[in-house]
Symmetry: C2
């Protein structure tokens, strides 16, 4: 027997329609690539999203056709989120930090029909447009006047010119909520990138989950700064979740340096900011140098990589800002866990709370998780047993776009590639990426644990711990370190710094100092490159 | 093109499974009808819900069969919520405040197979069991020892005896999320009660919506007291939303007097309580008498009837508790709106905030609303135009159970029977029930406005304003009042109290003092009865 409730599909268009109607005057502020600040409101965003939808109709784009973006966080990108998906096409956000040939490869693989790009990326487009076989329309996210006439790119048009002829009267189409809405490719550390194809249903359920008090706690009283890029798993879903709640939105464009981010936070009254640890490092350095403080920020969501405990402490102790440690993946839309305390932990002493807050946190409702041993047997939630982390849920992929890589699921569960513990309260902690774990004489050493200790040393800027072949122990940990400008530390000092912090056999066997550690397109340390570089490292004889 | 996300139906079983796994040790505290306090945890609730599911299997109940309850808020009722719906049967919560013959009528109409009741309702069951043709099993929510042997009721068993033989190992079935999950009958002020048949999908989406920061803001740091009964639109969905978030739950049983409620709030550290205005009146009276205060409560959700502004002020000014004014209906699962401030209102002066907080609030994401004139034309959102309120969304009914009453929708929208204004910020304010509006010489007078002024008078306990036939004006307002014990006010004094508060033509033409105002099964004033009682009221000649 079926219930007798209204049949209404969960569609992304309902988000911007709701925001435009219920929060018409709530602001959306963008730092443009031109450097100036642009302001408008949800009511304007709704009207212009509808112009985008009509402009796509005019191009005769079919239902499900892909429209790509190569763009920073800004209002035009925001309009594309809703105009493209809302009208039944698929928004394909491409990471502009990828090599140009990878961008072209992805655009071809996705069979993008339209590609919209910020003017900062015009050089990339000039280099690749002839190789993008399926793209017939190139849209530069600018005014007509800002577009050079001599680019030579066929089918090029400015965004403002493109949408200008369209009225903002438009009835969003109604269709199956399982329809594809957006496409993101993984960064693809091995092999070609693979696409995660989100549906309207998955995006809407993820938005509900992300806005919950135990996740990002988003409301109409918030002012949200997504520093995490809109080309990186849809800025962790914030454009959708903010429209759902009517939160004021502040987009940083391409200026992610400490001063620019700080100025936006203070100038716009940001209450919540979200990004990867490297961005916050720049912000905290700027603030320490300038001796400035926050007046409105009350929380930051940190994900993408594990947040060093030292950073959580600095935010809390020095600036009164709560760090919400979060974990997710492109394949998970991306939110999996957020670290929010439980009732029984609210009254704990600061140190005890810290031991919780360094973990990646509890599952957002909608995500199931488990850890298993190498034989696939489930391991206990005791905070000690560590195993491969598997997840399941309506906003987690069941396959990659075009079936690339075959069936990724194991008995209905998606293997994350992370190794983790889960404690009795459901707090999950990543101990390592499974490929980064160091296997020393039958025991596992977490590269993350070793790195967290290193970056707590005042002279260390960044640290990567990798396993390198060892004649006796199979692998032993090698620490690769960059120093902070003007500060120094020796190999001996750094190794001594581990005393009493971990078991002796977990202390790295050696330290090498480098000028820089290679970062991938999403800001993560590329340990694979380091493993290649140091594969013949000669261990000290002692 | 469909997305490639995991196909996972939204099922109620996932709520208790999540709570039992992620919040195994979070408490559920119940004041039992026996008077004592019972404590256990979500882990226990999960195990016993599975025993209920197995016990229903043992009775050979089919998918979709109805299991009724006649019970206060308590842990056994909570287990039935998940054991019944989770196993694919339909939970039918009956309001025990209805007349016994109405209970029997509803049980027969719903074709209930099992009926579970609190021992306080044994007298009702004794009177009706022979008339309930479809019920084959009567389950008394108590220990075997507490059950009298001489009731004469065939098929009677105690709950504990019923579930005791069952193991708590059970795999929840997986089925279409649109399947029926729960059934609630409206109080039926005209004609027979009609059933709203909720689905798993509608219940899950409602739980996500209800837990949002702009709705009830539920988290694992909350301790929630649903004073609103679980037989009244599923306690506004709190059992589901609390399981979703792992909030500590406190159930008051049948003791809803001021002292009992206050003692629970203080004893258990309640942070949020939800109920109808009449319950809070008792609580506030008790607190004023005993000169006591709250130590943990930070918000109350008030719905069911409009909350008098004076009560909102008392909670805020005297006790520092925020009142979340809410509005909904049985046909809406029930949440429609909750009154939470927006960012731009946070810094407003108290009086300006009050002018917002007296409204019923903003739509929870998932609910669309509009107001229309008598011709069905949409009216503007200007806070002034008032018209019939219509709603739409995935947790709103499209028809009543068994098609009773025909098609209730008007062009896809459900007419609420309320008259309301909506302001530019989307804050909705009920001005009246459409049937309670007083039509005086072509102008409408809101009975609620008139009542709110009356109850602000220190000597008035309760006030109902009704339209009574008038030779010149068609209808004129008559105020029916009960006085607070030991306090007095005259007709003239009360009418003078309106001076300067409303236009002269909106002041009631007369006042009658009564000992009590009749209340319906859900605690609402039964104005229909008053209209009948005073239909021949003789207006004063002046």
């Amino acid at each position: 027997m079926l219930g007798l409730m209204q049949d209404q599909p969960l569609l992304i268009s309902s988000l911007i329609e709701f925001a435009g109607r219920h929060h018409a005057d709530a602001e959306i502020v963008s730092r443009r690539v031109e450097g100036d600040i642009h302001r408008y409101r949800y009511g304007d965003a709704l009207a212009r999203s509808k112009q985008v939808a009509r402009a796509l109709d005019r191009l005769n784009l079919a239902f499900g056709d892909r429209v790509a973006t190569l763009a920073w966080n800004g209002y035009r990108h925001f309009e594309l989120y809703f105009g493209v998906s809302g009208s039944g096409r698929v928004l394909h956000t491409i990471n502009p930090r990828l090599a140009a040939d990878q961008v072209a490869w992805i655009a071809n693989h996705a069979e993008d029909r339209v590609l919209c790009f910020d003017m900062t990326f015009l050089p990339i487009i000039k280099g690749i447009w002839r190789h993008c076989k399926t793209v017939t329309h190139w849209i530069a996210l600018c005014e007509a006047a800002a577009l050079p006439t001599d680019t030579g790119i066929e089918g090029l048009c400015s965004y403002e010119q493109w949408i200008a002829p369209e009225s903002n009267v438009y009835d969003w189409p109604v269709f199956d909520e399982r329809s594809a809405a957006a496409l993101c490719y993984t960064s693809g550390t091995t092999g070609n990138p693979k696409g995660a194809l989100y549906s309207h249903r998955s995006t809407m359920l993820h938005a509900y989950g992300a806005a919950l008090p135990d996740a990002l706690c988003l409301s109409a009283r918030d002012c949200v700064l997504p520093v995490v890029p809109m080309f990186h798993v849809n800025a962790w879903g914030l454009p959708y979740a903010c429209a759902m709640t009517g939160a004021k939105l502040v987009f940083p464009g391409g200026a992610l340096d400490g001063k620019s981010v700080y100025d936006l936070i203070e100038g716009e009254g940001v209450t919540m900011a979200a990004g990867v640890p490297t961005v916050w490092l720049g912000l905290l350095n700027h603030m320490a140098q300038e001796k400035v403080r926050f007046s409105t920020l009350n929380r930051t969501v940190i994900g993408g990589s594990a947040c060093p405990p030292a950073m959580i402490r600095t935010f809390k102790d020095d600036y009164g800002v709560t760090v919400l440690h979060a974990w997710g993946m492109t394949e998970m839309s991306p939110l999996g866990t957020v670290c929010n305390l439980k009732l029984k932990q609210v009254a704990l002493a600061t140190e005890e709370q810290m031991s919780v807050l360094v973990k990646q946190g509890r599952a957002v409702f909608g995500v199931e998780m488990k850890i298993v041993d190498p034989q696939g047997q489930e391991l206990p939630w005791d905070g000690k047993a560590s195993g491969d982390l598997l997840v399941k849920g309506p906003w987690i992929i069941k396959a990659y776009f075009k079936g690339e890589g075959g069936d990724p699921l194991v008995g209905g569960w998606f293997p994350t590639g992370d190794v983790a513990t889960i404690d009795a309260d459901g707090f999950m902690q990543i101990t390592d990426r499974s490929k980064d774990v160091i296997k020393s004489g039958g025991e596992w050493i977490s590269s993350i644990d070793v790195e967290n200790i290193a970056v707590a040393h005042p002279a260390v800027a960044m640290a990567a711990c990798i396993g390198v072949a060892h004649p006796k122990w199979d692998e032993r940990p090698l620490l690769v370190v960059t120093k902070k400008p003007g500060l120094d530390v020796s190999r001996q000092e750094l190794l001594a710094f581990y005393a009493g912090k971990v078991a002796k056999w977990q202390v790295p066997d050696d330290v090498v100092f480098v000028d820089s550690i290679p970062l991938g397109a999403t800001g993560k340390m590329q340990k694979m490159k380091l493993r290649e570089q140091f594969k013949d490292h000669k261990w000290p004889s002692a």
